[in-house]
Symmetry: none
Subunit: 165 residues, 2 copies
DNA sequence: CGGAAAATCACCCGATCGGGTGAAGGTCAG
DNA sequence: CTGACCTTCACCCGATCGGGTGATTTTCCG
């Protein structure tokens, strides 16, 4: 669970990694379903032989199976659709036109995205393996292109232009 | 389905109304579970008498019930937690619960909202007719309550808590 | 009424940010 | 090849921000 969230945070730009995580989810779900069936049969055997009961009512079986698979269904359903919760803004798509219109370079966009996450200039520099001065230069150019003079204003404008979620 | 979404959208501030909706949801879920059980028994009867089969294998029963209640579980789970999905809608509404939970005062919220618009501390002070020091105090308290130490991080957190759009 | 919480303001200090200038190397189209 | 553009980095300096402490007044609830 934590790894999934972390991965989503760190690599939200990489769809291949996201697909990989989903596959793992499905696999785990299938495995757990099999496990549940086995447990179910095991419980029935225990009940039958442990208490010398040969014929439990059909209603009991139905109830047992129903409860178990309802729980499993709820769990699986939530797990397989948890993406929607994590991604918070489902239908965000980078406005490529705005990028061209404002002449914002690839590197500047990266800095912008990290800034939007609340990182300081030093943290951005560390994340991109460049010096603090470089980040400041990129940000200065960004502020010029966005026609702002504060990072919070930049975030506002960038959101309006659909450059960040 | 659509009515539920509409209701959740329109009245997300009114806990009583939301509770009412939830109760309706639960009631409907219980009703549908009963219905499912009835349908299940009905299907079994049909299978037994329609095809002149007296003793279906226990595995068949298990499979049938499992599939049915898995589907039902997924459905119920998604339905009862659909709130999270609804929250993603673009329309913004202040989360009053979060305000109380985080102990954020009215004045602090005003400062937060102005900060979110990209204003500097001095501009916020001018807008609220208070001194720069006051704004700084409010922001310090906000940062404590939001557990951040930068205004951009505060914006992130505030957005997560649905305190700002 | 009394106390808790909120709102207001002040001062200090170090860290960060914003703005300006300059420069070196790489890429790529004309 | 050459010029435009991107990327990288450096230095400087003033403004702003963040954090801490302390204080007074106002508001509001028990």
């Amino acid at each position: 669970m934590w790894t999934i969230i972390a991965a989503t945070n760190s690599f939200s730009l990489f769809s291949p990694l996201r697909t990989f995580c989903s596959l793992v989810d499905v696999k785990r779900t299938i495995l757990l379903y099999g496990l549940a069936l086995a447990v179910l049969v095991f419980i029935m055997k225990i009940i039958q032989y442990r208490f010398w009961v040969k014929d439990l009512t059909i209603e009991f079986y139905i109830g047992l199976i129903a409860v178990m698979f309802t729980v499993l269904g709820v769990w699986a359903g939530l797990r397989l659709t948890r993406k929607k919760v994590v991604y918070m803004s489902p239908e965000f798509e980078l406005d490529q036109d705005a990028l061209n219109r404002l002449n914002i370079s690839k590197r500047e966009l990266e800095v912008l995205q990290l800034m939007a996450k609340g990182h300081s200039n030093q943290e951005i520099a560390d994340a991109l393996f460049v010096s603090l001065n470089t980040v400041k230069t990129h940000l200065s150019n960004l502020f010029l292109k966005l026609e702002v003079n504060r990072r919070t204003q930049a975030l506002q404008k960038a959101k309006e232009h659909r450059l960040i979620p």
